[in-house]
């Protein structure tokens, strides 16, 4: 053996280790790949050896190679081997490799479950730590499910090092296994107040991460976080909490009010920039959420903006960047405050740092107004010229377009200017955003009718100069612009001054080099132009011009007929034939122009981008249903090319009514004329440019290009947007002057009256009249379009699954799967055996007992929940009653078992929590700004008790309690503690209630908000109910029990028994035994005989009660059954110990085999329709309780769920553990209740009904 080790070591000396590998790679720079492949071969050899040290070394090297991009998944199994080494050194290497290269589809991950579990429970904290770290990287849904419970236990580990890791990893577990969130949440919450700052920070981290995705579920934690915020000194934690509040405030404006004061103080006091920045961010979020009603609203905004200005002016680029980022958030709601810092932001546009320039651009978006739009865009255009990188320039371009087009061109006063800007942008070289410019051109030309003439003129010039403007149109995206230009020129050709010239430009041979879809538009619009030209020329007596036009078409079109693009080819050949036909008719002197132009008649309306999607599907139309049966496979293949073809066609062709009769056409044209006459160009200040057609009645016949004759142009025909800026200024000045004149006049007229009222202040937004009275056509939407816009939601978001209501008490189906001795029976691996032996010899039994209790608790919570829900509703209406209820609840035989206690406490604190939140929020001190910090301290102190109540048990418990060495003593002391705690809680609750009352009297406004949202329905409260019934009792001990079906196993029921020590002595060695029947048997551990008794896994000190669970197997569940049993125990006091015995009878009712299962009404209807169920009915007389109480009772005692309820009639459903469906229809009239029931097992149904009857006869 020793020899072997030495030999292994010597072997090892000649192996390469990681350092050798790295050195080797560095020495083989030329043939690195080859060297590495030989290394991989060596590694493969090493992995084949038995020596774990050699293997670990190999795996370590693989981890390095993985970083270099080599796939090492082939060694996954070896990695698992190294992970399972007992030495920390190797284990760590294994886990590191696993965390680097395992992922969800790595199949060997399945093998790791037991190994990881073993490591998690290792006595060495670093084994546990390494396992947790590794697991956090490769946790899968399966691992999460299997290990959730183990990790949850680790959250209460004695070592903070483990606790914080366990807390953090829970987030990953939640993501992979959302069902674990609710069971684990109470403990997670408890960790928020862990004594160790690291653990606390981890818990804050996890909850913030959870809350960020689904904030509404975490609103009830606000008071707790508020407390943390005001007490924590850890900036890291503070930042997280403040960020969390930023996410919560939009949901609860009252929270914002409460926050603003401490946050403002923090802003003033902190020296940490990061904290300051996050505070400012959250204050902004608060201010956004508070629409109005804040007196010192503007003060806070001013403070934020002022602090941000300091950040932006800082020399540190990081602060500058963040300052701008936060500024853009303020901008959305308070643009005015930001606008005053325009100088600073424009200055940032010149910053050398591109990130900062981009942020500044974002800000500009919101700073524009009608007044400064032109100025800002002018500045941006300068930047466009200066910009070096294309990405930044493209960004500028999109920003210019965004800024101008925002909110339906709200800020554009002069569309001629905008068109000019767009045209100027086309001169950018190498931009990717040609299509963006094009779509803007199209949009403006279509929607702003008044601008069409101008747009057409510009587009014609653009087409003329297309070849000049962009040297190589093919390569860059700018050629898209010619798509728009051609379309505009064609569609609105009536505005063209010289259509012939444009037609010629559109049919140039060079056009054939453009992309196909653009050529297609060219060809189609050439046809439109042709129609216009023909119409213009037909009036002339001389037909040579028309002949020439036709000739041009016939000459040029064949080029396109030869195009490789189908679309172009088809259109071109179609039009060519048409032109040839027209030529024939012309030669016969037939007048065709009218008919040709009729081809293209009709107005096109803009359609909203999502219009198609928003058309509601008519009722009864199933879009997925086949209209015709799907053709066979071979057929569909034939059809495919066709489909492609049609698809392409629809992309460019537009629906047109070709056969519109003449009358209709004339009518339309008339209407159009009328419309345009009503919107004449309306220019006050610069009449010079458009004077010409100011006094002409119709717009259509006017040659539009005349307008910019007064404008000196750089490129012939192209406008300079700067000119417009000047013109606009002049116009405004004139306007202002005119206005003043008018006002003076008015004042003169009214001088005798009020003189000062008309003093015109600085020019305001409204004063600026647009240069054109434009009618911006809104986009068309289908009738009754759905308003909701749910396109943005990502159905694959993993966080969606975590949208879980955490305030609801736990249901019995929600429990973390735990290993119990039953589950292990099937396959016990040697590893596990070893673990069980080494870790804790008596652990399994105890643990299972605990788990059973755990389940039980959850069951109970769920039951309680129902009554709780009702109660919640009328919490404030029935305060006095509530107190009784709460007491009743505490009186309930609730037994705390260690570890799971907080689960049980959840519901109690929950109902309190909801109202507490309301109370806490309504209690906002809202001190005025002038108040000193001292008052805030007082306020915080006043709130402290409330927050304490909310956190309830969490505070009292001691997370440091040694878990591993749990002895009976600690347990019992714990029980005592729990009891005390209960009492304390109760007291506190009462105290709080007094508080409530007090509050009501003193503050009427507060009362209102307390009630807000909590009062829903007026119904009487339910009396408290318990399913536990007495099993047996003597002077020493009392046993109550409840039976629940096991959802997972159809042949098992779990009997929970609460043992209560009634005497002054210690009860120990309790043994539980039942005489099995043929049908029902108590499950005993393996190896014990059929008559052996089971040891109850705890002892009872005086006055203490505890719960144990026993599993029974049943075969038939259709009949109720009674089992006889005995409990033996030793009563021990100081002097003596006696052996005692108590007989009992366990009653298995049919009800206890039912499991509350929710059922949807449609599934329920289907079930009833199926006809497999047999009916039976029951009539109850003299029931005088409200109907909802009746239902609640059936739900609670007989495990039914309500499917639907209409007035005093309700359908209910339940399912047995063996899958029998039980349906009830409960009707109530007066004191008579009739129950019609259906079930697939008549015997069982009869028994269930009998039991229901009995329930009601008892009350």
């Amino acid at each position: 053996m020793a020899l072997k080790i030495v030999k292994g070591s010597i072997d090892r000396m000649f192996d390469k280790n990681l350092q050798d590998l790295v050195r080797g790679i560095r020495n083989h720079k030329e043939d690195e790949a080859k060297y590495i492949s030989t290394c991989i071969d060596e590694i493969k050899q090493e992995l084949k050896q038995d020596n774990i040290a050699v293997k670990a070394n190999a795996v370590c090297k693989l981890t390095y190679l993985q970083m270099l991009g080599y796939d090492v998944s082939w060694a996954a199994f070896n990695i698992v081997e190294v992970m399972s080494s007992s030495k920390f050194t190797y284990k760590r290497i294994g886990y590191l490799a696993a965390s680097q290269c395992f992922h969800e589809s790595t199949d060997v991950i399945m093998l790791t479950t037991n190994q990881i579990r073993k490591d998690l429970s290792s006595p060495n904290q670093y084994d546990t730590g390494v396992a947790l770290t590794g697991l956090s990287c490769f946790v899968t849904p399966d691992l999460a499910r299997d290990l959730a419970n183990d990790i949850m236990t680790l959250m209460s580990h004695t070592k903070p090092y483990i606790r914080k890791k366990a807390v953090l990893i829970m987030y990953k577990v939640f993501l992979k296994y959302p069902e674990s969130l609710r069971p684990a949440f109470p403990r997670l919450k408890e960790k928020l107040e862990d004594p160790d700052p690291g653990v606390q920070s981890a818990a804050v981290n996890v909850i913030c991460e959870l809350a960020r995705r689904n904030p509404k579920n975490y609103l009830s934690l606000a008071p707790l976080f508020f407390k943390l915020m005001t007490s924590s000194t850890n900036n890291w934690v503070l930042i997280k909490i403040i960020k969390l509040f930023g996410a919560l405030t939009p949901l609860e404006p009252r929270l914002g009010k409460k926050l603003i004061e401490p946050l403002t103080n923090l802003i003033h006091s902190t020296s940490a920039m990061s904290l300051l920045y996050e505070c400012v961010n959250t204050v902004i979020a608060v201010l956004i959420s508070l629409s109005s009603g804040m007196p010192n609203h503007s003060a806070s905004i001013q403070l934020c903006v002022q602090k941000l200005r300091i950040l932006i002016e800082d020399s540190d680029q990081n602060l500058k960047y963040l300052g701008l980022l936060a500024m853009s958030k303020i901008l959305k709601t308070h643009p005015k405050s930001v606008q005053s810092h325009k100088d600073l932001i424009l200055q940032c546009l010149d910053d050398k740092d591109e990130s900062i320039r981009l942020r500044a651009l974002d800000l500009l978006y919101g700073m524009v107004s009608k007044k400064n739009l032109m100025e800002i865009v002018k500045k941006l255009m300068l930047h466009v010229d200066k910009a070096e990188g294309t990405t930044y320039r493209d960004e500028l371009l999109t920003k210019i377009i965004d800024i101008c087009s925002q909110s339906n061109y709200q800020y554009i006063t002069n569309f001629e200017w905008y068109i000019s800007i767009l045209v100027e942008l086309t001169r950018l070289e190498g931009t990717r955003h040609g299509h963006l410019i094009a779509s803007q051109m199209l949009d403006v030309a279509i929607r702003v009718k008044a601008i069409r003439a101008f747009a057409v003129a510009q587009m014609a010039t653009l087409l003329d100069n297309a070849h000049l403007l962009t040297g190589n149109m093919q390569r860059n995206g700018i050629c898209e612009v010619s798509y728009a230009a051609a379309w505009i020129c064609g569609e609105f050709s009536e505005h063209l001054e010289n259509p012939m010239q444009t037609l010629e430009a559109m049919l140039r041979p060079k056009v054939a080099t453009l992309p196909g879809h653009i050529q297609a538009v060219y060809v189609q619009n050439a046809a439109k132009l042709f129609a216009t030209v023909l119409k213009n020329q037909e009036g002339n007596t001389d037909s040579t011009a028309a002949q020439e036009t036709i000739q041009l078409m016939i000459e040029r079109l064949p080029l396109f007929v030869q195009s490789a693009n189908l679309e172009v080819q088809e259109r071109a050949s179609c039009i060519l034939q048409l032109v040839k036909y027209i030529q024939k008719l012309q030669q016969k002197d037939v007048e065709v122009a009218e008919e040709v132009s009729a081809l293209f008649a009709g107005e096109l309306n803009p359609v909203a981008p999502k219009a198609q999607k928003k058309v509601p599907v008519p009722e009864g139309l199933d879009l997925d249903a086949w209209i015709n049966e799907p053709p066979s496979e071979s057929e569909s293949e034939d059809e495919q090319p066709k489909a492609i073809f049609t698809k392409e066609e629809t992309k460019h062709s537009r629906p047109r009514h070709i056969e519109v009769d003449e009358k209709e056409l004339a009518r339309r044209r008339e209407a159009r004329k009328q419309e345009q006459a009503n919107n004449p160009f309306y220019i006050k200040a610069s009449p010079s440019s458009q004077k010409v057609y100011q006094d002409t009645p119709g717009v259509e016949h006017i040659p539009v290009v005349q307008i910019d004759l007064s404008v000196p142009l750089k490129v012939p025909g192209l406008p300079m947007s700067d000119q417009y800026v000047k013109l606009e200024e002049e116009r405004r000045q004139k306007e202002r002057a005119e206005k003043k004149k008018k006002e003076k006049k008015k004042r003169k007229e009214k001088r005798s009256g009020r003189g000062k009222r008309h003093d015109s202040g600085p020019e305001s937004e409204e004063d600026i009249t647009p240069a054109h009275m434009v009618d911006i056509v809104t986009e068309e939407m289908p009738e009754n379009a759905l308003p909701s816009d749910d396109d943005d939601k990502d159905p694959n978001d993993p966080h969606k699954a975590l949208d879980i209501d955490l305030d609801k008490p736990l249901a019995d189906s929600e429990k973390l799967p735990v290993r119990s001795h039953r589950a292990v029976e099937a396959a016990k691996s040697p590893v596990e055996d070893g673990e069980a032996e080494t870790a804790a010899p008596q652990q399994p039994k105890k643990k299972s007992g605990k788990d059973k209790r755990d389940d039980k608790k959850k069951d109970k919570d769920k039951e309680r929940k129902k009554s709780k829900d009702e109660k919640k509703k009328k919490k404030h209406k029935h305060e006095e009653k509530e107190e009784d209820l709460l007491r009743g609840e505490v009186d309930e035989p609730v037994v705390q078992s260690e570890g799971i206690s907080q689960v049980a406490e959840l519901p109690t604190s929950t109902s309190a929590e909801v109202s507490d939140l309301d109370f806490w929020l309504s209690n906002a001190p809202v001190p005025s700004n002038a108040q000193e910090v001292a008052t805030v301290v007082a306020a915080a102190e006043a709130e402290a008790p409330v927050a304490e109540v909310v956190s309830g048990a969490a505070q009292d418990s001691e997370p440091d309690e040694p878990k591993d060495t749990e002895m009976e003593e600690t347990k019992s002391s714990k029980h005592k503690k729990k009891k005390q705690k209960k009492e304390k809680e109760e007291k506190e609750k009462k105290k709080k209630k007094r508080h409530h009352h007090h509050h009501r009297h003193s503050d009427g406004g507060g009362e209102k908000s307390v009630q807000n949202g909590t009062v829903e329905e007026e119904e009487e409260p339910l009396p408290s109910m318990s399913n536990y019934c007495l099993l047996a009792e003597n002077s020493y001990i009392k046993m109550v029990y409840d039976i629940q079906g096991n959802l997972q196993d159809g042949s098992q029921v779990v009997v929970s028994i609460i043992f209560e020590n009634k005497c002054d002595s210690f009860l120990k060695s309790m043994e539980f035994n039942v005489l099995d029947s043929l049908n029902s048997k108590l499950q005993r551990p393996e190896g014990s005989g059929p008559h052996d008794s089971l040891t109850v896994p705890f002892q009872l000190p005086p006055g203490v009660s505890n719960e144990a669970r026993f599993v029974f197997t049943v075969q038939s569940i259709v009949m109720p059954q009674k089992l006889k049993g005995t409990l033996t125990f030793i009563v021990k006091n100081e002097e003596s110990s006696t052996h005692e015995k108590l007989d009992f009878k366990l009653h298995f009712t049919c009800t206890s085999y039912l499991i509350t299962t929710p059922c949807y009404s449609d599934a329920y209807a289907k079930l009833l329709e199926s006809g497999d169920l047999k009916g039976s009915s029951l009539k109850l007389e003299g029931v005088n309780m409200p109907f909802h109480h009746l239902l609640a009772r059936i739900c609670f005692h007989h495990h039914f769920s309500v499917v639907e309820r209409i007035d005093s009639c309700s359908s209910m459903y339940s399912r047995s553990i063996q899958g029998h469906h039980v349906c009830l229809l409960v009707k109530s009239s007066g004191q008579t209740v009739s129950i019609d029931a259906k079930c697939d097992e008549p015997t069982m149904l009869g028994n269930v009904l009998d039991e229901i009857k009995q329930t009601f006869s008892q009350c």
Binding site: A53, Y126, T133, Y171, T270, S274, Y321, V933
Partner: protein, 201 residues
Amino acid sequence: MIKAILIFNNHGKPRLIRFYQYFTEDMQQQIIRETFHLVSKRDDNVCNFLEGGSLIGGSDYKLIYRHYATLYFVFCVDSSESELGILDLIQVFVETLDKCFENVCELDLIFHMDKVHYILQEVVMGGMVLETNMNEIVAQVELQNRMEKSEAIQNLSPPYLCHLLHIATSSRSLRSSSSIHLNVPPAGLSTILTPTRHPQL
């Protein structure tokens, strides 16, 4: 959440990669290249934030990086992390490395990638910040190293011999630009390093 932590040198050679979300090896290399491309062309006096690359994350993600001598430390984070906080965290991480390796330089990272990983594991776990207190991090790392050593001595097993071998061939003797110490300037921000006590509210 932190999505990835990348350390590479001035030439884009990866020195440590740690993804908290699965990417294939090819994708990982692509991301490193892209990130290097984005980061390396930036001057040292511009801000340390970058809107995320196209490969990793979307609009919600940011690259936050620091440049120390020959190495870039890049964290890819989402909006739940404080930008300045992460900058401080990088500083803490590098200072921790400096303590653990005694004047850390690129060579330390090259030859002891595994150790750097172990240190990182004490700072960030599964994409979430685990510990920000440098002394605590160093203490935990050292305890684990001590455990490793005791295991090695206990059974005279190979790591012990390896350690002896190491001493014989010190990695620092190599002459390379990468032996430049990462001079760790004091952080200008104070999220973690000097927690400021604000007045009681």
